[in-house]
Symmetry: C2
Subunit: 160 residues, 2 copies
């Protein structure tokens, strides 16, 4: 059983970016009424593609969660922006094997960006609606690699 | 006084895109557990720039709202993704004059993309936290044009 940890930028750095409004904004705009935390996702896309914005509506999962598949996108980064203030489960792996899996719980106000080629679990909201905007690679080529596990990795969290 | 209308894709079409999970998804992914509403924003960027993802944290506004400035971004589209389920005010204008202003109230689950060069009001959340992810042009050049109004346009809504 893997215990999901609270998502932090430092712990997530080997896998991607955490986008939030923590700390001081990079710029103050709109006559002082808006803080801009500027350009926080490393959007690395292969030539032949471009960024697009899609909406994902996913079925909420219950904990403990049985992870039996990881996937990666060789042609581009993938940024998930929650359109609710519900926490959600973020699963990554330094290799496509059960022992390399790590799990995090994203807090309200945290978006994530998986760096290009990072192994990860599919989108796993924990509450309805499981609504996210996704910025990812739109273009030519096969952008999906999947590895299934014979024995699922069980993931839980102290609270979510 | 302008009355903000509920945001619909049809009414907003001259100004940009409404991104939501309405209707049937374009694709079903993740073993049937996620609907993908694919590539819903026209992200038109000038050469010399690229898409980036930033976080905006804006002070909530009260209604009626006094609009005294519109702006536009000549170098690229700008997509606003609410990270809460609160409604927010969307202000656009077919020209940078008070009589050309229109206003909408976005419902929970609706993101918007202003097409490149569209005149619009600054980000106007109506509830705290005023937290949005913004996909816009990162690159060279002057991407901001502003026009102020001598007499503000008052905007309200029947409910928000």
């Amino acid at each position: 059983m893997i215990l999901a940890r609270p998502l932090t930028a430092a712990d997530f750095a080997p896998f991607g970016d955490v986008l939030d409004a923590a700390g001081d904004p990079d710029r103050i705009i709109n006559a002082g009424l808006c803080g801009r935390f500027h350009d926080r996702a490393r959007l690395d896309f292969a030539a032949g593609g471009r960024a697009g914005v899609s909406i994902f509506n996913a079925v909420p999962r219950a904990l403990p969660y049985a992870l039996d598949l990881v996937e990666r996108h060789p042609l581009g980064a993938q940024c998930f922006i929650p359109m609710t203030q519900h926490p959600y489960l973020v699963i990554v792996a330094s290799a496509p094997t059960p022992d390399a899996v790590q799990a995090f719980i994203a807090a309200p106000g945290q978006a994530i960006n998986f760096h290009r080629g990072t192994w990860h679990g599919v989108l796993t909201p924990l509450h309805a609606p499981g609504l996210f905007a996704v910025v990812d690679y739109i273009g030519e080529g096969d952008n999906l690699q999947e590895v299934t596990f014979d024995t699922p990795v069980m993931i839980t969290a102290p609270q979510a």
